[in-house]
């Protein structure tokens, strides 16, 4: 019964928090409406969320902090490339990253992280779900770039998603 009312308790909690943030104040009305939306939306979208990702909270917070810091640092690097590097010195490359992650949620977060951190954009996933196609703006050594991304982000995501 509880399971049917809350197919995704984490999603419900997230919706309530987002609703209160959107309203901008913690009041009874905001919490009540947020709770209504937080119960209805997961029930109606449950068919598209058959699995229930098991997320470790503390490593996830550490991961978000790491990614935000990387975004700031890498933004300056990409700005320097755009402003000072001549096109003929630029070494853009396609990277094929073999995936150790297996759940769709984890792969989505990994691909999103790669796109958000400047210098790399994830373009596609292989039909077998085992490789990620990434375009790098400047990668003189593609193999080193692949190893860096795997060690920095994928290893941490494996821990977060219990993969």
């Amino acid at each position: 019964m509880i399971r049917r009312l809350f197919p995704h308790p984490g999603l419900s909690a997230l919706i309530v928090i987002m609703w209160v943030v959107m309203v901008g104040e913690v009041s009874f009305g905001a919490l009540f409406l947020g709770l209504v939306v937080g119960i209805i939306v997961p029930i109606f979208t449950a068919p598209w969320w058959p699995g229930r990702p098991d997320v470790r909270f503390l490593p996830a917070v550490v991961y978000i902090e790491l990614v935000l810091r990387d975004i700031v640092v890498a933004n300056f690097e990409v700005a320097a490339i755009i402003l000072f590097k001549r096109n003929r010195d630029l070494r853009p490359a396609w990277l094929t990253i073999p995936l150790d992650l297996t759940t769709p949620e984890a792969i989505t977060v990994f691909a999103g992280t790669i796109s958000l951190t400047p210098g790399t954009v994830s373009a596609d996933v292989s039909a077998c779900g085992k490789f990620l196609l990434v375009h790098a703006l400047h990668a003189p050594d593609p193999a080193a770039e692949v190893a860096k991304v795997k060690a920095r982000y994928e290893a941490r995501l494996k821990e977060i998603f219990h993969a």
């Binding site: 700031v72 400047p118 954009v121 994830s122």
Partner: protein, 140 residues
């Protein structure tokens, strides 16, 4: 509000100038980089730190000048970070499709065409997902 220049004003102004500088550099990248895939890097970057700095500036202004906390900037940031990679991915997928077809409107650029992934399966743009892949559940 007191007349004249305050540290709050200086902080907010610095954040806004930083944010708009990154937006400008991102747009300049859109103009000068050699082909579509490289150009894709410019705007997706401007939207992260460029907009991020402007949003922090906005939140700081409400806190320091008005004395109220606003949470909407946080929400803008979250939705931006959720949607920016998806739109970049969709543009890249269209480009991959045109590239494979040899469409003259989609030249390969300096990186050329991507290699096929190792193994039998192709990229998902060119081939439907296999059975047993992540995300392939019973009843799909």
């Amino acid at each position: 509000m007191s007349a004249g220049f305050t540290y709050a004003d200086a902080l907010v102004a610095a954040l806004i100038v930083l944010g708009s500088s990154f937006a400008l550099v991102g747009s300049w990248g859109l103009v000068r980089l050699p082909s579509l895939m490289e150009r894709l890097h410019g705007p997706t970057k401007a939207s992260t730190l460029g907009l991020g700095a402007m949003l922090v500036g906005s939140a700081a202004w409400f806190q320091l000048v008005r004395g109220t906390w606003t949470t909407h900037e946080l929400l803008v940031c979250v939705f931006l970070f959720l949607t920016a990679p998806i739109s970049a991915k969709m543009i890249a997928k269209v480009h991959l499709h045109l590239l494979r077809q040899g469409d003259p409107s989609a030249p390969g650029g300096p990186a050329g065409s991507p290699a096929r992934p190792p193994g039998a399966a192709d990229w998902a743009t060119h081939e439907a997902p296999h059975e047993g892949t992540p995300g392939d559940f019973e009843g799909d």
